[in-house]
Symmetry: D2
Subunit: 334 residues, 4 copies
């Protein structure tokens, strides 16, 4: 089978032919149909996380069909269409798992990082990492929903958001352009925040009620004039940018951060106490959350804007993504 | 009547004899029995907030009896024992008030800051700022509950805290020594965090299960060894200190800040995303919250440790407080 | 001014010419543009509630413009378009009001029952009973949203419902046909339950994903085949019908009853314990809730199906409603 | 090993000597120290549930030590003290399990009903049914906490209850006498409801603030005079009794039913709509909930009142329980 693998930190993707793996007892073998390219693939590409073993095949936005099941697998059938996202399985034994809080599993595996992922014709995955795919979605469009989709959908539905609330989506990129759609389809009023006028038309077309060009306008003032954001979904990985819009939160407002960066945001106790505000982080979700995301997307016609590449062009595809040239997610097709 | 007033920012308290005021239509005249001294009285004493008119009588932890009621007041009776806290009344007309969210009233008045407070033998207050006092509490001990008490009680009961959770109380002072008691009486496991060994015995006596000397021990490690704090109540107004313990939060943990300062805390998106954590502020509460605080305190035998002074010694009393010499709240008795 | 009033329990509406009333200090005089007819108007028409004084002008789905304001009113301006619903004002003094829980005010007034309502060219109302009307809604269509709309919208948004959940709406009439729209626009999957095939096309057109003819199909089975309802909104005032669908609730499902009747529903502890289910009632909402309902409706294009009549034909209009002939709400236009 | 087993529905317990079983791959063998007797043991004793295979050893309040672990078990060690409650393990594959909602597992096993339980010297249990026991509890007292304890503790902590709320506990028996303690230790005001004066002293001693003799007093009125119950925990399996106290709920009050019976309670939509009330059921909890219950009990000194019998006297012990003669739980000691 063909794979595009990273041989060492910093290397390009190399096309390598390998044997199709066999699923272990608790695993499933998947014939990959599509795999989204995510900014977090840089962890593997550039060795940004300790403990990654090389060579490694990245890819955690995988859609395919079950080709073979392990000995202990009874819940999944051959031929069934399934997906695997960032959350690559959990242990059932740690404190978090015993609480049913799988995303916080102490022994959670990450797809395409702790085991080979979807930049390949086949891959194996733990059965508890699998989501089933509703018929209404095609595989290529469904792929990015397993990471960019679940992250924004899950953060929004688990925030304090109520239908009709003002949701500000900061950053209209791979995550944000989905966040706008989800918030809109949850019945919220949506303000899209982005630099420049580039994304305006698209954001409004996706359901944003208001577009705020953060280069030319005072986003905090604009949001306060609308009563303040009830939920502010921060999707752009810039702590400086996040810090700059906190005061756009309204009374009892909730800043939901899904943009993973290590730089600190700054917020004073006064800012949070006056108006009783909060700042929280949200980490994607587990396999069941993926299914919920896909079901909601199929029901409400939410889909990512994508560019597609054949597997062999993973290097070109990755470059589009990493250089912020893609509108908005890049997907490899096998 | 005798008052201790501040004539201009930075001045000492001056003993001034004034006429007893008459309550306006929506007000009540209170014969003050006791008034707690709070760190926030420094706003008036030192002119730290814009818009304060001088001379001003501070004091927002007031217990007394109703002496006279205004023309529109039917809910309060002469002779009834009442309290007035930081929240000095609301407008009923703003967006927040129409939502029943009185503490966030856009036109909220602050007792002893926007109108004369309890460093006096008498004061007037809007009727919607009044709390009734349960019989089980004496006036002197009840006074600090109207600010230090309500703030910690209300923050805790409105956090995600569940009975049995691990609550870390950072700072064992005027607020913290009440926070420890409240968390304990809510059935939680309590870790008290303070610098030095000074407060250890007291904290354990108030119901803390664990004492962490933050000068000598790694608080983050200690908390993580206990599974991580479910709620971390930050009562010490040091953003640096708050920043240093954020990683002591457990999975789904919630940092509740009641210590009002302007210095920013620093927290990275990663810190919040991993383990799905949140940081929130909590602003005291309204008159009904005060009643709930007092009722809970009477029911569960929570009371502040206090030092008392006669009204005339407000300067000495204030100095005890501002120099952190008091154990733990200072109360003026009339 | 012309009014259609009820002179005694059981009487028809009589056209009576009266003087335009003057607003009291806390009241507003409204020039009525439209008033919906509600099943609860039967309380006045037939004297079904103790303590109603006759003659009485019913009508609690009122849209009009402010004609004059009382001496204490500063929040409302002449000419402004406003609405008044079932909740006709609250006292600010009772336990519920002090908690900001206005809908549960012990002294709450009901519009068109405790004071004259909107079957008239003019009416007065307490200022705290007023909702402002967003520009996007015309007065005739907005009127029913102040009772049928707020009740279903508010019940749904305050239930445990999450976007994507399965919401079953029992009864596709005045309330239900709005409930279907609201649930759909909140991003939920909607099952409409009604007797016969009469309402099928309409329900699907309003956003229902599934139609269940409860005469011909086993609703409980149909719902369980879809995983069980997460929320079941009971709008048809038949306790027998409600009882019959409780087992259609899914795991952690929530039966939300807005259909006010006195007949008991029957549910066993076992039914609720297995699957951890709940049954709750929801009572419309206050003025701010009305605004939220109207704003959501304008934002998401939710509107009632209505039939209109001139004020003078209130008897004919009421008969349409009471005989269940209307599709789906009847509105008087002035 | 000695067991006390039921050979057929309606039979007495018979002392039978058997081979000590071997744990399957995912199981643990437990050397039983103590096993509580529960009213639900009647399901086995009298064959009240379809699908029970006989002979069967009942017992789902089991404390013991790990004697041997199955091949796939790494989370539990020999010699460790563990408990097994009603929830006897879950499948990880059904919709509920994938949601982390183990108590609602479609394939959940019940201890002592689907597999042999704790009326024996040894038993095996699935590893995911095990709770670890904190040092502060002795085995005999801990046993009933795994059913009567977890049920009341878990229902209360997952209700809308806030510290200081009024909790009414209906029925002061095996469950209720624990419910009183838990509510008290959560900082609530507790009203104990029972027939007669028999339980009064005990209830007050356990932390009840008020005792209501439902034979002599109007419980609804008493509760309403205190403002109405915020949470009413119904522990007595009489739907008639439950129905009779529903109106004792206050505004936004929540009736939490843990008493499993098949007879319907009756409640009208009006009763629930006025005051926005709810009725819910609560089904014990899973292994992690058991640990939380035990930890809370150890931390806050909650323990059941028990009578103890040797295993061989299971018939006498069971009779005490089933005839309501026990005060309040009966425990077999091995
Ligand atoms: Zn990703
Ligand atoms: Zn785990
Ligand atoms: Zn203060
Ligand atoms: Zn206000
Ligand atoms: Zn009221
Ligand atoms: Zn109505
Ligand atoms: Zn299961
Ligand atoms: Zn039991």
């Amino acid at each position: 089978m063909k794979t595009m693998q990273i041989n060492e930190p910093g290397a390009d993707f190399e096309l390598v032919d390998k044997d199709i793996p066999s699923p272990a007892d608790d695993e499933v073998l998947i014939k990959v149909q599509a795999c989204g390219i995510c900014h977090s693939d840089a962890f593997v590409k550039d060795g940004l996380m300790p403990g990654i073993e090389y060579p490694r095949v990245p890819g955690h936005e995988v859609i395919g069909t079950v080709e073979e099941v392990g000995n202990n697998v009874s819940a999944w059938d051959e031929g069934q269409r399934v997906g695997v996202g960032w959350h690559g399985g959990h242990c059932y034994e740690c404190e978090a798992c015993r609480n049913g809080d799988f995303i916080n599993c102490e022994n959670a595996k990450i797809t395409g990082l702790h085991f080979d992922g979807g930049y390949a014709e086949y891959m194996t995955a733990p059965q508890n990492a699998l989501a089933s795919i509703p018929d209404g979605l095609n595989s290529t469009e469904a792929a990015p929903l397993l990471c960019a989709g679940i992250t924004t959908f899950n953060a929004l539905r688990n925030s304090d958001l109520k239908p009709g609330d003002l949701v500000a989506v900061q950053g209209i990129g791979g995550l944000g352009h989905l966040g706008v759609q989800y918030a809109h389809k949850m019945g919220c009023k949506v303000a899209a925040l982005s630099r420049g006028m580039d994304k305006k038309e698209l954001a409004l077309g996706l359901g944003a009620d208001v577009y705020i060009n953060t280069e030319a306008e005072n986003a905090v003032e604009r949001l306060q004039n609308m009563g303040g954001a009830d939920v502010l979904l921060a999707t752009a990985p810039s702590s400086e940018a996040i810090t700059s819009v906190i005061d756009g939160l309204g009374r009892n407002g909730n800043l939901m951060i899904v943009a993973a960066t290590n730089d600190p945001i700054e917020v004073s106790p006064f800012q949070l106490i006056m108006g009783r505000k909060s700042v929280a982080g949200w980490p994607s979700g587990d396999a069941k959350d993926s299914e919920d995301t896909l079901d909601f997307s199929a029901l409400n016609n939410v889909s990512p804007k994508i560019e597609t590449f054949p597997l062999e062009e993973a290097n070109e595809a990755y470059d589009r993504m990493i250089n912020n040239e893609a509108r908005f997610r890049v997907v490899l097709e096998m």
